[in-house]
Amino acid sequence: MSSFDIWIVIAISSVIMFLMRITGYLIPQKLLQGVRLNQIITLIPIVLLAALVAIQTGTSGDEITVDHRLAGVAVGAVTLYFKGSFILVLSLSGLTGALLYNFL
C-alpha cells in the first residue's frame, strides 16, 4: 500500500467510525423505549465485551489457540474473583503471560 493509500484508509475509516458512533447518539430515544428493545440494548455491552475477551485470548487470526494468554487471563479471572483491583488484575495476568511466553 502506498503512503497515499494509507491516508485514504485512515480518512475513510475515521469518518466511518465517527458516523457509527454519532448515529447511536442521534437515534431518537422514543424509538428505543420499548421494553423488549431496552432489554436487548442493555445486554449489548456484556455480549460484546465477553466476545472480545474470548477472541483476544483464544484466537490467532482465524485459528483457535491455547497459549500463554489463556493462562494469564485465567490468573486475571481468579484475581477478579478475589476482588483484586484493575491494576492488580492487569499486572498479574500480564506477568503470567510474559513469563510463559518468554520461558516456555
Binding site: 455480549v47 482465524d62 484493575f86 495476568s93
Partner: protein, 224 residues
C-alpha cells in the same frame, strides 16, 4: 484514571505495530487521534502489514468498530448530552468509557433505576464522571503512548514479550466483571464467549464479535 493509564500504555504497542507496518509518525498519530479505537486500529495496520487492499483494511476496521455504535445506543439515554458535547462524547465512546460508566448504573441492569432518589442521583453523577474521565483519560494516554511506541518501535516489536497481549484481554475481562451482576447475565456472557470462539474459524475478523448481538436479542426478547 485507574483504567486510563494502563490501557493507554498499550498504545505503545499500537505505535510500534503501526511503525512496523510502514506507517509514518503522522499517519500513526492520525489513527490514534481521529479514529481512536484500539481493536480497529490494530486490525487496520494488520491488514496493511500483510499487504492487504485498501478496501480490506477499511472493511475489517469497520467490522471491529461497529461495537462502538452499539455502545452509543446504550449510553446515550443515560448521558443525555447535547450539542458539541455530543460530538466529543461520540468520539470517546469506547469499551473502557462505557464499561466504567455502566459499573455505576443505578439499577440491577433492567434500566428503570433502583434505590431512593438521592442514591440514584449519586450513581448518575458517578456514571457521568466515569464516562468522561475514562474516555478522555484513555484518549490522552493512548495518544501519548502511541507517540512513544512509534518512536521506540524496536523495543516493542513483540508485545507478547512484555505480557501486553495477555494484559489487554484481561483488562476487558476486568471491565466486564462488574457488569455480571446475576447468574442470568453470567450465562449470557459465557454463551457469547463460546459463540464468538465457535465462529472465529469461519468468519472474518470482527464478525464473530458482532454475531453475539444475536445472543443479546435472543435473551432480551422475552419481556420480563
Amino acid at each position: 484514571m485507574g483504567v486510563a493509564i494502563p490501557v493507554g500504555i498499550y498504545g505503545a504497542a499500537f505505535g510500534a505495530a503501526a511503525n512496523t507496518a510502514g506507517l509514518n509518525l503522522l499517519q500513526t498519530m492520525a489513527l490514534s487521534l481521529l479514529l481512536f479505537s484500539g481493536a480497529t486500529q490494530f486490525a487496520i495496520v494488520g491488514v496493511i502489514a500483510s499487504g492487504g487492499a485498501v478496501a480490506a483494511a477499511i472493511i475489517t476496521g469497520a467490522l471491529l468498530g461497529i461495537r462502538n455504535g452499539f455502545y452509543a445506543v446504550r449510553i446515550a439515554p443515560l448521558l443525555q448530552v447535547r450539542g458539541l458535547r455530543r460530538i466529543l462524547a461520540a468520539h470517546i465512546t469506547i469499551d473502557e468509557s462505557i464499561a466504567v460508566a455502566l459499573a455505576h448504573e443505578s439499577s440491577d441492569g433492567d434500566g428503570d433505576g433502583g434505590g431512593d432518589s438521592a442514591t440514584r442521583d449519586k450513581k448518575n453523577s458517578d456514571l457521568f464522571k466515569g464516562f468522561w474521565f475514562t474516555g478522555l483519560g484513555v484518549l490522552f494516554f493512548w495518544n501519548l503512548f502511541t507517540f512513544i511506541g512509534a518512536l521506540g518501535a524496536g523495543l516493542l516489536e513483540d508485545p507478547a514479550r512484555w505480557g501486553l497481549d495477555t494484559a489487554v484481554p484481561a483488562a476487558f475481562l476486568a471491565l466486564l466483571w462488574p457488569q455480571l451482576k446475576n447468574n442470568r447475565l453470567r450465562i449470557i456472557a459465557l454463551a457469547s464467549l463460546l459463540l464468538s470462539l465457535a465462529l472465529a474459524p469461519f468468519l472474518s475478523a470482527g464478525l464473530p464479535i458482532i454475531a453475539t448481538v444475536l445472543i443479546a436479542v435472543g435473551a432480551g426478547w422475552r419481556v420480563r
